[in-house]
Structures are given as structure tokens and as C-alpha cells.
Symmetry: C2
Subunit: 588 residues, 2 copies
């Protein structure tokens, strides 16, 4: 009978008694950790208690129900946002905001309930996932949360001026959103690592509600921002697109002249809060990602002590930061000139073409340099013999998924540009530049994805650990090994590492040194390159619309749809790459 | 040192020698099977040989490269298909077909190479995944492949008539596609279960090429079919949509009168092959799904003998088939009347409204009956104590993913309909019916997803196996157990099952009997319900366009985009549900 209880340790050779085959508590924990590598296995195993069928079943129902809840809220939100964008007579912004207020209030209530319930219950959170909610993610969340809160305050001040002639919901919405942001930021800061074991079904639903509310907020913000950044031609039947930037349509705000602001500073606040939109968009995505990881961790039995601190050392790197900063400064300078000149010379085509050329050339230089350095980084990985981390880690899987998923946005824009430019025969130098940029962008995205994914899947360099293993006694070393296993080192593959590890390590050390150095330089350079590629579209550069080839080729409405869906993902990709490259840097 | 070699069996209590701790070959295979539950672990472990770092690294690079190859082909294909649909002057159908011919030839060459290489190499395929490519999937593939081949022959015959005045590529394309379909169907029929161990990188890329070629073909077919099924109003600035079905736009075929067919049977073949499009669309999706599973299985070490045959017994079920067939017949009758009357009375609004009402009422009846029976099925699962399968299985994960993913298409259409109807105030009985249908559809989709996912994750009922375990001797029972483990039974959770299994089984048997019976009836009824809901949109019912509320609310172009993207997914969902329900039926 023992056969079935000590899984996965099946000791058929020792048939007298099964006792020696049972694991000690430490090994049991260790093993359950390994079993948890399989997501599904994790969902169905309980700690220190028998797996009760009803428990498993309950969890499954919770996951299914919460998933269906999320899909329904998301698609309903998507329908309302689209209806508001397309037909603002029947579905007004106030209708949409009333819907959002309802979900914000429900989600905030659940968050407050969870925080209070967890604080009052003894041992409410036994297990924590060391990989979830790393400091850069939580730090980013707080930073963007702060900027979003400022945006909401600006909105409140600005909209109060219209309250005498417009719906009060437009003031109520930023107030409720402010409360939500404060509650959610605190909740995620404190509880991001929790592996919830109590009230699992209810928590699943709460987390999915949080996720979907954030995604609906994200959709709303992206749509508002896109409408704000897009120049819609004055006459929709006119096929030649007007290139002026003066035709902003403040659909979401107060573009009509019927309702006048009662205080004088309205316009200042209105201009100011539009610059804070990109941060609010990032905040929603950060919060969604963290809620998703918490949802994946519900009922998971993970070891909370796997996260070992890595010291950030910038002293070894020099070339990467220097060239990177130069790139950022040059990029910023041309970007500012581009923005000013495009706004000033909206009707002077020759002047506009010059500025466009400058912007294209600058972008081509940035993307080329980044591609070359990424190729060097990938080559280093090819000759680097560090092991791959095989431990399952929901946070890292999500990271990789978000990275490749969000890169699709920029991929789509680049390929559509390529097809349009090639099909129209690459006429003029601007089209050649635009084509070059699109092709280089595809190469850069591909290489950077490879580089980051490889970097995230490699083990960090460990010199100290290997020494510890050799010098300690048997039991201690077994303890160390299980610790190493927890921290991502694959001991299974390391029999020769413990045997003659010290020798081979010393021989390899020199080669490792320069590989580490090159990788770090590449990481820092790419990090800064991604920052400038993030800043440009975030703060309003839209060469996709200023240059007319694609919009005449595909029709304006189709091209605007492609860009307005693809670009927010592209911006998020740059943002996310920065964070991932920082992790790769720490790993190297 | 032994600690690290016999993973995951860590025997610290037996410190004299590690030999008893090593597993026999059988257990090793068994264990490696379990370890393979974790997808990532599977990717990095080798059978009967040490995991060499370079091997792991090579595989990772293969996966990365093939993934990037797939994304690039897909997005380039997507850009070309969109450009062709939007701007057929610069990117003609011939351009698009030349691109497709290139990829079809490359993919076919790889397929032929793989088949020959595998046939010539001794022991080329050691491991097979018993879950991959089940008979219904391969059978469906052959059936749809046959119908697609007939479609291609019709196309060739029809297009030969135009060869004197149009590009020869339009004849070459169906010829190449025919060759591709024959090669691919043979390849997937024979090799769908392979866990490729040789030339892994090359095979990864080949499989991803197959996947992306099929998806590009799918996109092309869906676009062509959508343009064919959509009535575009004669005057695009006219906001009242013409309801006539006579305005088909044969963008992809030969709508212009300049080029006349040289033989008389052109039109017959043209009409005929449009009826075969839905099958071609399904063929591409089936082939993509199978190529994806093969790609996931590259380098996987799986046991090929896990698949145990289940006898199909329809003798116990009676109510489900009877009511289901009645539903299908009634649905088919009203669908035929609807199609004929809508075509005949395209300008007679009162007659059209009557037919629309009939179609809406029929659909509401179907969806209501399905919802009720699904709710009964879900309730049975709630009281059913069968264990959940915890074994990882890429085919099942893909099934669930495809099911939930494709249901989003219908979800989106229903929610957009609901928002449009509610926002315009639900005027008239047609709008009430349309709203009721949309809301019921959301409920039905949600319930059906829960029912199918639960059904797929439950263990099959086993009476015979439990008897075998009890009556056999120790060693034999251990063998049986390991077999059971392979076949999806979780022995770990069954200590009481082996101990006093016989007794509890006999007590529970009566309850189990009626639960099985109800589940089977529900499965058959739902299966037939999904068939009729698949037939209607597949063969041209478009109440989304015949009823004008949504298209006037969202603007015609936006609504056409939503329906033309959502509906193919909805059709695939029904198709896929039928297959999944069949599996649930076998499981019950």
C-alpha cells in the first residue's frame, strides 16, 4: 500500500517497511517545490494534509468561475469603450464612467476586505512566492501610481470648472479612481507575494475582478489617448490626409464650446494631465500583471525564502552607460526639435519633410546600434555555458509572455509599413528611410526578444555558492543543495560540479569574467536605448501619421486602427524591456 | 554525491549505498513521465543519457528561432492579406497567391523531406505521445482535407476558363495547394504522435513553418469568405444599409465583366466551391493545431502506450439523441426557409421581418434548451466525486485553450449586440428577440465552457481496473498501478481506493450509474445542438447584417470588422465543441 503514498519516491526494493522511504519534512517541502514546477500539479496538491477531492474540485470551480467572470467584464467593457468611441451620442462618456465607477467601487471593496481579513486572521498567509512582485515591479507600481494619482487630481480640478453645465459623474470618476489607486497600490505592495490559502474561490474571483477592472481602465485610457494623439482629417470623405496637428479631437474631454470652464486654469490642467496618461496606462498594466501572478499563486505551496538579494554593481560597466546616455541625449534633442517643428510647420511640406528625415535617420541610427549590440550579446550567450534554469516560475513565464506578446504591436506596424512602402514602389527618400527603419526594427525586435528570453532563462553566476558546497559537511551540503534548488540552481545536472567543480570553476573563471562584462555593457546600452524608444512615442511622436504613405495605402481609418492598437503595445514593450533588461543585468 | 543523481528520489536515510535508491528501468520511465508533467522540465531532460548543456541550449535556440520565424511569417501574411482586402490595386490577388505558393512549396518540401528522412532512419521515432492526434482529430483532418481537395479541383476547373485573360497564378495556386494538402494530410496522419528526437532545431522550424503557412491560408480563406458573405452597401456614404443579398462582391474571384469564362460550367463550379470554403477553413485550423502539438512534443520523452481504447456505446443513451435530432431537424428546416425567404424578399421589409423573427425564435429555443441541459450537466459534476486528472497533457491544454479562445469571438458579437440594442432603447419585437438571443448566448457559452473543461479534466470511469488491482499479486498490481498512472489515473490519491476500494466502489456504483447516464444524455444533446449552431453560420446565415440595429449603431465598417473576425472563431468554437463533447462523452 505504501507504493501510492510516498509518491514520487517509489521504493519497490525495500519491501519490509515503508518508513525509510518517507521523506523528512524538509525534503517533503523540497519535493513539493519541485512538483510545483508543474502548474497543474501545484493546483491540486495541498500542504501537510491529504488532497481532498472536494478541495481540488472547489479550487477548479473557483478558477473556472473567476475566469468566466473576467472574460465577461472584459468584453462588456470592450463593447462599451468601442461604442463610446464610435457612437458617443447613445453611449456617452458619462455612461461609460458610471460603469467604470461601479467596478472600481466593487473592486476597492474587495481589496479593503482582503487586506482587513488577512490582517485579522492569524497565519492567514503561510506561503509566499519569492519570485512574485520583485522590487522593480513594486517600485514601478508605486511610481506610476503616484503619477496617476496626480493625474486624477488634475482631472478633478479641471472638471470641477465644468460642473455647472456637465454631468457630475465626470468629477466623481477621478475621485473614485483616486481611492482605487491608493487602495490597490497598498494592497499590491504588501500582498503581491501571497500564495492565498484561505477563501480560495472568493479570492480567485476578487483577483480576476481586479485584473479585469484594470484592463478595462487600460482600454479606456488607451482609447482616450489615441483619439487625442490622432489627427482625424477634417472631411472624412477627403482621401488626402491633412497633415496639420491642430485638429485634435477632444472627444473624451470638453471640446465643445457650449460648456465654458468657470475658472481660468482649466486649460493648463487639461494640457498637464494628458502628459500623465502614458504613466496611467503603464500603471494599469503593472497592476494587471501583479494581480494575474497572485491569481496563479492562489493555493500554491511555495517556499518564501528562495529570493536571494543581488547587489547592484554599476562600477564594472563603462562603455554601455556612456554610449547609452549619448544615445538618449541625441534622441531627446532630435525628438524635441521634431515635435516643435512638426507643430509649427504643419502646412509647409518641404520643411516638414526635412524634420521627418531627421527623425527617421535618428531612429535608424538608434535601432542599428541596438541591433549590433544585441547581436553581440546573443553571440556571447552562444559561447556561454551557464545552465538554463528549469524551475517553473509563473512570474518569469508571464514576463516572457508579455514581452513577446507586446512586441507583436510593433511587429505589425513595421510589417504593414514595409508592405505599403514596397507595394507603392519606394518613391522618394522619405519612403526609403521609412522602409529601412521598419526592416531594422523587425531585426532589432527579434534579436532583443532572443537576448532577453535567453538572459532570463540563464542561471545567475555563482562563485560563492560553489565554494560553500565543497567545504561543508554532508548534511550541511545537502541543506545547501536544497537551498540552491529553491533558488533556481539545477543540482540534478551538477554531479560533476560538486565533484571537480572547484577546479573547473577556477579554469573557467577568466573566460566568464569577460563574458559577464560584455553582457553587462550590452544590457545597460540596450536598457538606455529602450528608454529613448519608449519616450518618443509616449510623448506624442507619430511619424506613422505625419508620413502619409501608409494612411493613403490602407485608408485612414484602417491605418489609424492598426497604429492605435499596435502602438500602445509597442510602448508597453519598450517599458517592459527596460525592466527585463534590468533583471538580465542583475543576473549577469 | 548520490544525492544529486537519483533525483527526485532523495534517500538520505540510507547513507551506506545509493544502489537501492536507483530506479528500475520501468520506474525510471514512469518517473520521467511524471517529471514531464512540467512542460519546461520536459524540454530540458534527455532519455537514458546525461543532459548535456549544449543539447539544452541547442533546443532552446531552436524553439526561439522557430517561434520568431512563425511570428514573422504570420505578420507578413497578415499584412499582405489586409493590403489585398483594403487596396487590391497595389497588392493584387496574384501577388498574395505568389507569396502563398512560395510558402506552400517550402513547407511541402520540408514535409516530404521529413517523411523520407524518418522512413529511412532506423529508430528515428522512439517516443510517441499517446494523447496527441486522437482519432477524431485525424479523421476530421482527412475528411476536411478531402473536401478541400475537391474545392481546389473545382477552383482549377473554374479558373482554367479565365486563363486566356487573367494571370496563370490563379490556376497555379489551387494546384500547389492540392499538392500541399495531400502531403500534409499524409504527414499528419502518420506522424502526429511523434516526439521528434533527431534534428530537433530543423524540425522545430519546419513545424512552425507548417503552422504559420496553415494560419496564413486560414486568414486568406476567412477574408475571402467574409467578403463573399458580407453585403457591402452600394453607396458607402449611405447610412441605411441595403438589405439585398444580390450585392456580393467577388473581390477574390472574377467579378468584373471584362474577362469572360471560356467554358459554360464556370458559374456552377464557382457557386459550388464557395460552399466548400467552411471545410477548408476548418482544415487549416485542424492542421495548425496538430502541428503545434507536434512542435510542443519535439524532444519530449513520452510513453507511447498510455492511450487505451474506449468502446463507443450509444446503446445506453436515448433522450439526448432523440431531442437532439429533433432540434437539428427543426433548426435545419427554419434555416432553409430563412435563407430562401431572405434572398427572395430582400426589398420587402415586412416579410423579411417575419422570417427574421422565425430565425431568432428558433435560435432562442435552441440556446435555451442547451443552457438548461448544460446547467444539469454542471450540477452533476458538482455532486460527482470523480478525481481530477493532474497529469500534464499538451493536447488537452491546447484543447481547452482553443475552446476558451475561440468562444471569445461569439462572446464579443453577443456583448456588442447587447450594448447596441440596450443603448438604442430596445425598440420593436425584433430588437427584444435579438437582445434575448445575445444574453442567452452568453449564458450558454459560459455554461458550456465550464461543462466541457470540467469533463475533460475528470478521470474516466473505471470499474474493471479496480477489480484487476485487488485480485492481482503485489508485483502485478504495482505494474498495473504504473500503467494506470500512465493512463491518467492518479494513484497517489488512491490509498483508500486500493485498501477498501471494492466495498466503496460497490456502494457508490448505483449513484455513479445514473450520473453517467445523465452526463451521456447531456453530452449527446449538446453535441447535436452545437452541430446545428455550426451549420447555420457556416452556410451563410448572417442575421448580424440582415438586422440593422448594430450596423447603424457602430457604423457599417466597424460592425463588419467585428462580425467578420468574430464569426469564424464562433464557427470554429462550435466545431471544436462537438469534438470536445465527443471526448467528454467517451470519458463519462
Amino acid at each position: 500500500m505504501c507504493l501510492t503514498t510516498s509518491f514520487p519516491c517509489v521504493c519497490v526494493t525495500d519491501d519490509s517497511t515503508c518508513a525509510p522511504c518517507r521523506m523528512t519534512k524538509m525534503e517533503e517541502a523540497d519535493l513539493s517545490n519541485k512538483t510545483n514546477e508543474s502548474g497543474q500539479a501545484a493546483n491540486t496538491r495541498e500542504p501537510h494534509q491529504d488532497v481532498s477531492s472536494s478541495g481540488v474540485q472547489g479550487r477548479k470551480w473557483g478558477w473556472l468561475l473567476s475566469g468566466i467572470l473576467c472574460v465577461n467584464v472584459l468584453i462588456l467593457g470592450c463593447a462599451l469603450v468601442s461604442a463610446n468611441a464610435e457612437n458617443s451620442e447613445n453611449i456617452t462618456t458619462s455612461n461609460l464612467q458610471a460603469f467604470l465607477i461601479f467596478f472600481l467601487l466593487v473592486t476597492s471593496s474587495w481589496i479593503i476586505y482582503y487586506v482587513i481579513f488577512t490582517a485579522r486572521t492569524k497565519n492567514a498567509v503561510v506561503y509566499k512566492d519569492g519570485h512574485a512582485g520583485p522590487i522593480w515591479l513594486r517600485g514601478g507600481l508605486v511610481l506610476f501610481g503616484l503619477l496617476s494619482a496626480i493625474m486624477d487630481i488634475f482631472k478633478i480640478v479641471s472638471y470641477v470648472g465644468y460642473i455647472h453645465c456637465d454631468s457630475a459623474i465626470k468629477v466623481a470618476f477621478p475621485v473614485v479612481q483616486l481611492v482605487f489607486i491608493v487602495a490597490q497600490t497598498y494592497f499590491l505592495w504588501v500582498h503581491a507575494k501571497d500564495c492565498v490559502q484561505l477563501q480560495k474561490n472568493f479570492t480567485c474571483c476578487g483577483l480576476m475582478l481586479t485584473l479585469s477592472t484594470n484592463l478595462v481602465l487600460w482600454m479606456t485610457a488607451v482609447t482616450e489617448e489615441s483619439l487625442h494623439q490622432t489627427n482625424i482629417p477634417a472631411d472624412p470623405t477627403n482621401t488626402t490626409i491633412l497633415s496639420g496637428r491642430s485638429l485634435y479631437i477632444y472627444k473624451a474631454s470638453y471640446g465643445d464650446s457650449k460648456c465654458q470652464c468657470s475658472h481660468t486654469s482649466c486649460n493648463i490642467f487639461k494640457d498637464a494631465y494628458y502628459y500623465l496618461y502614458p504613466f496611467n496606462i503603464e500603471y494599469s498594466l503593472f497592476a494587471s500583471a501583479m494581480a494575474y501572478v497572485m491569481w496563479k499563486n492562489v493555493g500554491r505551496v511555495a517556499d518564501g525564502h528562495t529570493h536571494h538579494k543581488v547587489k547592484i554593481q554599476f562600477k564594472d560597466v563603462f562603455l554601455g552607460p556612456v554610449f547609452g546616455v549619448l544615445l538618449v541625449v541625441a534622441g531627446l534633442a532630435t525628438f524635441i526639435v521634431y515635435e516643435i517643428e512638426i507643430k509649427k510647420n504643419s502646412h509647409d511640406n518641404s520643411k516638414k519633410d526635412q524634420v521627418m528625415m531627421m527623425h527617421f535617420v535618428m531612429n535608424i541610427v538608434i535601432v542599428t546600434l541596438m541591433s549590433v549590440s544585441t547581436a553581440i550579446g546573443c553571440a556571447i550567450y552562444k559561447v556561454d555555458h551557464r545552465k538554463h534554469v528549469i524551475e517553473k516560475n509563473p512570474t518569469r513565464s508571464l514576463d516572457v509572455g508579455l514581452l513577446t506578446g507586446s512586441s507583436l504591436g510593433q511587429f505589425i506596424i513595421s510589417y504593414f509599413t514595409t508592405v505599403a512602402t514596397v507595394a507603392t514602389g519606394v518613391q522618394g527618400y522619405l519612403n526609403s528611410l521609412s522602409l529601412t527603419w521598419a526592416v531594422l526594427m523587425v531585426i532589432q525586435l527579434g534579436l532583443q526578444n532572443i537576448f532577453i528570453i535567453e538572459g532570463l532563462h540563464r542561471e545567475p553566476f555563482h562563485e560563492e555558492h560553489s565554494v560553500t558546497v565543497i567545504t561543508n559537511t554532508y548534511l550541511q551540503s545537502s541543506k545547501d543543495l536544497s537551498n540552491l534548488e529553491g533558488s533556481g540552481v539545477n543540482t540534478k545536472q551538477n554531479p560533476e560540479f560538486t565533484a571537480n567543480g572547484l577546479h573547473s570553476n577556477m579554469v573557467e573563471n577568466r573566460g566568464q569574467m569577460w563574458r559577464r562584462w560584455v553582457l553587462k555593457e550590452v544590457c545597460v546600452f540596450l536598457l538606455l536605448g529602450n528608454i529613448i524608444l519608449w519616450i518618443m512615442p509616449s510623448f506624442g511622436a507619430r511619424p506613422e501619421f505625419d508620413h502619409e504613405t501608409q494612411s493613403t495605402f490602407y485608408s485612414f481609418s484602417m491605418w489609424a486602427t492598426i497604429v492605435n492598437i499596435g502602438l500602445p503595445f509597442g510602448i508597453f514593450y519598450r517599458m517592459h524591456s527596460v525592466a527585463s533588461l534590468f533583471e538580465v543585468f542583475l543576473n549577469s
